[in-house]
């Protein structure tokens, strides 16, 4: 990466407005950034951050507003123009090409050629990619296959791809959502170096602590409008939250003591497909919130999938309310009163094109049908009741689930399981990518369920959440349960010590 480059960028978005049918995504939003700045962009889900990103990356054209780059006004950006101006974007969604190797992924579309036939110059490409990977301190090399990379490594790959264009402005959209602590630290260091080199960095994340650490300025959006700006000395978590939600968050985590009841879910020497060498023992009691935490790849999601019957159980015993489950499958798990709010709500939790009503009713069809025919009235009544109970915000229950914000989508996934009156709910990263307000609502709901005697097994990597809401914490490490912590033992240090063994 060269320290001396073209002059630093100066970019101004002025009065940007973008309207979608039924919703104003951006209303007169302005954002300026200069070379060397690290600007944190914060806002709840649906505040307009992603739309603003799309405008910046040239994916969509604003309906109104001006874009000024380096003193020159452009009507709208296109992906080609964005690239030409040295703007690189790291998307929140990872879209690597698993069939190509790391080098090919990083330089896709910008391959180095040689000779009159334009053959790929593999050696030159690797020479270009290697130092970028070294800078990010990745575990993988230029020749590694992408299909074998973990989610965290894929995220680093996306970042390497952005760095490879030698950007003047780097936009990072939730870049740390699946990174481990040390990788996150490394990335923040890289951001600092880049900004010292005169690169402008626009950093979007829900992890406000990271913004606190690196940002020189914070721009907050709320409901598609500018909600305020924080200067260098004013950046604190509370100040950011105040701007994001427009009020103070009182007690975010309501600490409620639950009396753990009888055991409802017991694992005796259970062996999962991912880590068959480690038998697991765990006991979940009625009315408690047990959190399963650990680093990415520790086997938490795999355990959840095995318990729910998605993946085969390799051995051991799984008991629900003392009844041993034999021939485990998803329908059997649901029948036994166990359900799973999956990690990826867009592909695993929801049918995005289907209506909210259809989504909520999907697992309840046995109860909502007579001799195989769906009772449309009962279906609507269920959806209506769920909307009131969980305060799902939507213009209509006939709308497609895709049209809702992340927080409301998560509520729909919860609603579809609550309709089954489960005794055990497994929640895999239930608040990932949802805004502060919706998070608080999900926590309140979890507390209420626990108070009703439902057993909750939550998988989470968000330390604050783990410490704030759990009654007990099981820390996993490489497929084993490394330790169990009671509520009064919960600190970030004790958890991390177990997580990294």
């Amino acid at each position: 990466m060269t320290a001396h480059r073209q002059k630093d960028i100066s970019l101004d978005l002025l009065g940007i407005t973008k309207v979608y049918p039924g919703a104003i995504a951006l209303n007169n939003v302005s954002l300026s950034i200069r070379g060397g700045e690290v600007v944190g962009l914060v806002g709840e889900n649906g505040a307009g951050k992603s739309t603003l990103m799309k405008v910046l990356s040239g994916a969509i054209a604003p309906d109104e507003g001006r874009i000024v780059i380096d003193g020159e006004e452009v009507t709208s950006l296109t992906s080609a123009r964005v690239h030409e101006r040295g703007i690189a974007l790291v998307h929140q969604e990872l879209n690597p090409f698993p069939n190509l190797d790391v080098t090919a992924n990083v330089l896709l579309g910008r391959e180095i050629r040689r000779g009159m036939f334009g053959f790929l110059d593999q050696a030159a490409m690797e020479r270009k990619v290697a130092p970028i990977l070294a800078r990010l301190d990745t575990r993988f090399g230029p020749n590694d296959a992408v299909s074998g990379l973990s989610l965290a490594d894929q995220q680093l790959l996306e970042i390497a791809r952005a760095l490879s264009i030698d950007p003047r402005l780097l936009i990072l959209d939730e870049p740390t959502s699946s990174l481990t602590l040390s990788e996150t630290k490394r990335l923040l260091d890289v951001i600092r170096q880049l900004s010292a080199d005169g690169v402008a960095v626009l950093f979007i994340t829900h992890r406000l602590a990271e913004i606190e650490e690196v940002a020189s300025r914070v721009v907050a959006l709320r409901d598609g409008r500018n909600a305020g700006t924080l200067g260098c000395g004013e950046i604190t978590k509370d100040a950011m939250i105040r701007l994001m939600i427009g009020r103070d968050v009182g007690q975010f985590y309501e600490k409620a003591e639950h009396d753990p009841g009888r055991p409802v879910l017991e694992l005796k020497g259970l062996r999962t497909k991912a880590y068959p060498q480690h038998p697991l023992d765990l006991c979940l009691r009625a009315g408690e919130i047990l959190c399963l935490t650990g680093l990415v790849g520790a086997g938490r999601t795999e355990l959840a999938r095995a318990l729910f019957g998605i993946d085969r159980i390799e051995g051991g015993v799984l008991e629900i309310e003392g009844q041993r489950l034999v021939g485990h499958s998803v329908p059997a798990a649901i029948a036994a009163g166990l359900c799973l709010v999956p990690e990826d709500r867009k592909t695993e939790g929801l049918f995005l094109d289907f209506s909210i009503t259809e989504n909520i009713a999907m697992p309840s069809h046995a109860a909502l049908s007579r001799i195989g025919f769906i009772d449309i009235g009962a279906e609507t009544a269920l959806a209506e009741a769920s909307r009131n109970k969980l305060s799902i915000k939507t213009a209509g229950l006939g709308r497609a689930a895709a049209e809702m914000s992340g927080g409301n989508q998560q509520k729909v996934v919860l609603a579809k399981w609550l309709a089954m009156k489960p005794r055990i709910i497994i929640l895999d990263e239930p608040t990932r990518g949802i805004d502060v307000g919706a998070k608080a609502e999900v926590y309140r709901l979890m507390q209420a369920l626990a108070a009703d005697g439902v057993a909750l097994l939550m998988i989470s990597s968000d330390m604050e959440e783990v410490i704030g809401i759990s009654d007990r914490v099981a820390v996993m490490c490489r497929g084993r349960i490394a330790g169990m912590l009671a509520r009064d033992q919960l600190t970030e240090e004790t958890i991390l010590q177990l997580a990294v063994e």
Partner: protein, 327 residues
């Protein structure tokens, strides 16, 4: 009725009206009855195809199954003297077995539907030709089965029984796809198999059911075709019918990506294709152009559909913008 269906119905009416104006013979009872008969025959397997397409699958062996089942049905009765209800039962069991086999290969062995049914297309056609030694399976001269012929090829008040069968199947299929749990699950599995699994839907079972349903309806259709032609020439009988069924389904709003479509749509799609064929005949267009006309209309229909939805989105956008300005 969905908006798409209304658009398609309008198109059917328009084409019908144009043909009627140019050649009034279109409306003659004989022509109408013949066209209706063909709609009934082709409609049965088009609905069959739709059940598979909605799961994001495809069934390419329909034409070959129609030939094989037709040959066996005719031969059982004509050569072996099997009573026709028994022959009917045998071929229906055979059809269901074919559907089960396809469903099993696709779900348990995780083969692609295209590959499985393409192999089916080749295999069943080959078996049918081998079985008759590439000859024709037909009823010997003078033999007749009044009851069977009345039921399958007869008419009631001028309405061919194939049409009545088609209507009954269409109504049943509509309820099945749009009002039952199985129908909802077919849509769900077609749209997002992963989320379906996470919702406790047994995706394997749903997909197998779709192929069995398809094969069952194809079997019924095969019997109707065998009785319609009265002799089955296995090298040509039912050729390309699977593509015809796919065309009708796509025209009717089914997406090959799965999870979309309606029975009313596929019914209208079948009607449109038959009216077009009729148009080619009545307007004196060389019948060799038949497929070209059909292909062009389908292409035009699909283009119109995507353009119209783009136009609709743009208009919604404009309305939303105007609402904002007047704030």
């Amino acid at each position: 009725m969905q908006k798409k269906d209304i658009g398609l119905a309008t198109l059917v009416m328009t084409v019908g009206a144009i043909v009627a104006v140019i050649n009034p013979r279109f409306l003659s009872p004989i022509n109408l009855a013949n066209t209706a008969n063909l709609i009934g025959l082709f409609g049965l397997f088009s609905i069959a195809e739709a059940f598979v397409i909605v799961t994001a699958g495809i069934e390419l062996s329909i034409g070959s199954v129609i030939a094989l089942i037709g040959v066996i049905f005719v031969d059982l009765i004509a050569s072996f003297g099997v009573p026709w209800p028994v022959a009917l039962a045998i071929v229906m069991v055979l059809s269901v077995a074919i559907g089960l086999l396809h469903g099993w290969l696709i779900t348990r062995l995780r083969l692609q539907p295209f590959v499985v049914t393409l192999c089916g297309l080749l295999i069943y056609r080959g078996i049918a030709r081998f079985y008759t030694r590439d000859g024709t399976a037909g009823f010997s001269f003078g033999s007749d089965f009044p009851m069977l012929e009345y039921l399958v090829a007869g008419r009631t008040a001028g309405v061919p029984h194939s049409v009545i069968a088609f209507l009954l199947v269409a109504v049943a299929a509509w309820f099945l796809l749009h009002r039952t749990v199985l129908g909802r699950h077919l849509f769900a599995v077609g749209k997002n198999p992963e989320a379906a699994g996470f919702s406790g839907i047994d995706t394997t079972r749903v997909i197998i059911q779709a192929y069995v349903l398809c094969a069952f309806l194809t079997g019924i259709s095969a019997v109707f075709f065998a009785m319609y032609t009265r002799s089955v020439q296995p090298s040509s009988h039912g050729n390309f019918y699977e593509l015809y069924g796919i065309a009708a389904a796509v025209l009717g709003g089914f997406s090959l990506r799965g999870g979309e479509g309606s029975i009313i749509g596929v019914v209208l799609g079948v009607i449109l294709l038959q009216v077009l064929q009729n148009l080619v005949n009545l307007l004196g267009i060389p019948s060799s152009l038949n497929f070209a006309v059909m292909g062009s209309v389908i292409l035009a229909g699909v283009i119109a559909d995507t353009q119209f939805s783009r136009y609709r989105d743009a208009r919604r956008q404009a309305i939303a913008m105007a609402a904002l300005d007047s704030e």
